[in-house]
Amino acid sequence: MPHDHHDHDHDHPHALLPPDPALRVKALESLLTQKGLIDPAALDAIIDTYENKIGPKNGAHVVARAWADPDFKHALLEDATAVVADLGFYGRQGEHIVVVENTPDVHNMIVCTLCSCYPWPLLGIPPAWYKSDAYRARAVREPRQVLAEFGLHLPEKTRVRVWDSTAEIRYLVLPMRPAGTDGLGLQALTDLVTRDSMVGTGLPLSPA
């Protein structure tokens, strides 16, 4: 943490001074609010949405349903944007969502080499590693090495395909359904789907 010198709460005659970028953000908010360009309540609502309402559980629900329902899976692979919109998962930036399916022959992983484009409605805000230079550069250059660092070692015969997200197209990986899950209901299947398995840097959990 870059601000740990402010972590203690004693010996401070004045309020804890936020880091410089935080003060710059406050300056922006003050000015834009004063100009009527932003509504502070709308900012709070956006933060609440991304902190509490949108996250990988949305994507996990979609994946589990695709595992359980062949017709749903077919429709999802054909036109994911429409299918997930029907479930109430809209892209706020008007982007298209494309679902790419893992098979024994092909393992998909997603990256955004430009910045950090990510399927927000299905996965929420990306983790720091997804936004790091290391991942953004190396996922394309040496995907197998990156996957190995995530602890994911694929069979030699499995080809790795890397999808570079853009502002217009965001990808979601449909991982393979784990073995031993035949009798499981939708909720139990959903619980096996991890965020990383939908980015392609991990696999779903195995049933206990």
């Binding site: 943490m1 601000h3 401070h12 005659p13 004045h14 309020a15 804890l16 001074l17 880091p19 410089d20 970028p21 935080a22 003060l23 710059r24 953000v25 406050k26 300056a27 922006l28 908010e29 003050s30 000015l31 834009l32 004063q34 100009k35 360009l37 932003i38 709308a42 900012l43 709070d44 956006i46 933060i47 991304y50 902190e51 996250g55 706020r92 930036q93 982007e95 430009l114 910045c115 950090s116 484009c117 929420g124 805000i125 983790p127 720091a128 590693w129 997804y130 936004k131 790091s132 230079d133 290391a134 991942y135 990156v146 660092e149 995530f150 853009t166 502002a167 217009e168 840097t201 991990g202």
Partner: protein, 123 residues
């Protein structure tokens, strides 16, 4: 792990959605301005990507604070270009916020003095 990429996180507790409150604020501010139609998201992504690329020349960005510093810089420069927020106004307000924090007793809510905004917007 052969380097400090931080990729292996299986044993780590879940990280917060936003590591710092200001990360959340600048994110929401940008999404809000986009939704009000001030710019398209592809335009934003192109500008932001260019800032990240420029910052990444000096050192490898870790996707944490440095990522949102690049984000903030992108929005500030875009708003300056669009004549919606002059850098001098923003600097005056940043200094006013800093002064407000330094002069507010610990534990009390921090407010911008009423005059600060008027002064910065008179220019």
């Amino acid at each position: 792990m052969t380097q400090d990429t931080g990729f292996t996180q299986a044993d780590m507790p879940p990280e917060p959605v936003f590591a710092q409150p200001w990360h959340a604020q600048i994110f929401a501010l940008t999404v809000h301005l986009h939704e009000k139609g001030l710019f398209t998201w592809p335009d934003w992504a192109a500008r932001f990507g260019a800032t990240l690329a420029r910052h990444g020349l000096a050192r490898s960005l870790d996707g944490g604070d440095d990522y949102f510093v690049a984000w903030l810089e992108t929005l500030e420069s875009w708003l300056a270009e669009a004549a919606l927020a002059h850098p001098d106004q923003l600097e005056a307000l940043r200094a006013a916020w800093q002064a407000a924090y330094l002069s507010t007793p610990h534990g009390a809510p921090v407010h911008l003095p009423a005059g600060a905004l008027a002064d910065s917007c008179a220019s």
